[in-house]
């Protein structure tokens, strides 16, 4: 029987590797970049006056470096439970952004799976998942990738903070390693920015995060994310009439009726 159908472009783009292998591979460079941070979080727990296992257990129960540092910092300084929780949630309000970002991506996944998968959701996993899912439409392969990448990061984080807690103050500082994660995130941000509105969202988000981050680093990140999102929407709205006019001009020139303006690349992605 002759094969007449065209190959599935999604399979061609991503099917060379299993979702599990792709997830582990995608997360590997980010894990390498997180080595200094993970060791630092573990060492912070070891140096504090908290019960020995609290710091390490926070890698499981809280799972998020910035939030862990906030919690340990307040408790170690003699803060109350309420103050510690409030400080942690002020930092972890960023998780709402990740959840909101995954909402359309998880629309075709079972609700129970979404609830469980949300536990693993942190910045690096959000980054690799958004990038991967742009070229992978199969829900089962998406789940496999997400779980593989998320579990890789979770295990690595647990081990790194454990090593940091064990080594305490005897830790080397290698600047190039610390910059690995931002550079990987930079590439993923560029890949995620489709068209001019996407580029504006990226640049504004980064700029506001830097400016506001001088006051409060984690809230600055949230401010950057929200402002960048709004800037992308505004730019998209401005660019739409221009696109429609261009389509009408072309239609007039060739003597046909104008077709509806296509949605911008960022909206379509």
């Amino acid at each position: 029987m002759a094969i007449t159908g065209r190959p599935n472009p999604i399979r061609v783009a991503t099917g060379a590797r299993t979702p599990v292998r792709a997830g582990v591979s995608a997360m590997a460079p980010l894990v390498a970049g997180l080595v200094p941070f993970g060791l630092t979080v573990g060492a912070t727990a070891a140096r504090s006056d908290l019960p020995p296992l609290v710091g390490w257990a926070s890698s499981v129960l809280l799972y998020g470096g910035s939030g862990q540092l906030a919690l340990m910092g307040v408790l170690d300084g003699g803060g109350s439970v309420l103050a510690a929780v409030a400080a942690t949630m002020a930092v972890n309000v960023q998780m709402l952004l990740y959840g909101a970002g995954m909402r359309p991506i998880w629309a075709d996944q079972p609700r129970r799976w979404r609830a469980v998968a949300a536990y693993l959701l942190v910045g690096p996993l959000f980054a690799v998942t958004v990038t991967h899912h742009q070229t992978e439409a199969d829900p089962a392969r998406r789940r496999g990738f997400y779980l593989a990448a998320g579990t890789t990061l979770w295990v690595a984080w647990f081990v790194l903070t454990g090593i940091g807690a064990a080594l305490g103050t005897v830790l080397p500082t290698v600047p190039a390693v610390g910059l690995l994660t931002p550079l990987v995130l930079l590439t993923m941000a560029v890949r995620a920015a489709k068209g001019r509105p996407g580029a504006v969202a990226l640049v504004v988000g980064a700029s506001v995060a830097v400016a506001a981050g001088t006051v409060a680093p984690d809230l600055g990140f949230v401010a950057g994310g929200i402002t960048g999102m709004v800037a992308g929407v505004v730019t998209d709205r401005w660019s739409r009439p221009a696109q429609a006019e261009q389509v009408e001009d072309v239609a007039d020139a060739v003597g046909t009726s104008p077709v509806p303006a296509a949605p911008s690349a960022a909206v379509a992605s």
Binding site: L179, R191, P217
Partner: protein
């Protein structure tokens, strides 16, 4: 005991913040404007994440090598969209400026 209590409460609330938008809030009708805005979550949040990471590195030590790495890495990332090339270019610039400085 209070440390464990704080950890447990913060852990549950953090998980709730991650899960809420995709489990509970997905039952609610989303206005078109919000739906449109969600298309820009990824570039905005990833851009902010990158900025926070770079700023953190710059503030942790000498800022010039980090700035040099960024100046070299951004065009490479935009041009090639390759993680490996961006890492290579940024790390090389960081190392070179660190050695010179």
């Amino acid at each position: 005991m209070s440390a464990w209590l704080a950890l447990a409460i913060a852990g549950v609330l953090t998980w709730g913040a991650k899960a809420l938008p995709s489990t509970v809030a997905d039952r609610l009708p989303i206005p078109p404007a919000v739906e449109r805005a969600s298309a820009f979550v990824a570039p905005a949040v990833l851009g902010a994440l990158t900025a926070r990471g770079v700023t953190g590195q710059a503030m942790a030590g000498d800022a010039w090598p980090v700035l040099a790495a960024l100046v070299v890495a951004v065009p490479v990332a935009v041009r090639f969209r390759s993680i490996a090339l961006t890492l290579a270019a940024g790390s090389a610039a960081l190392t070179a400026v660190s050695l010179v400085g």
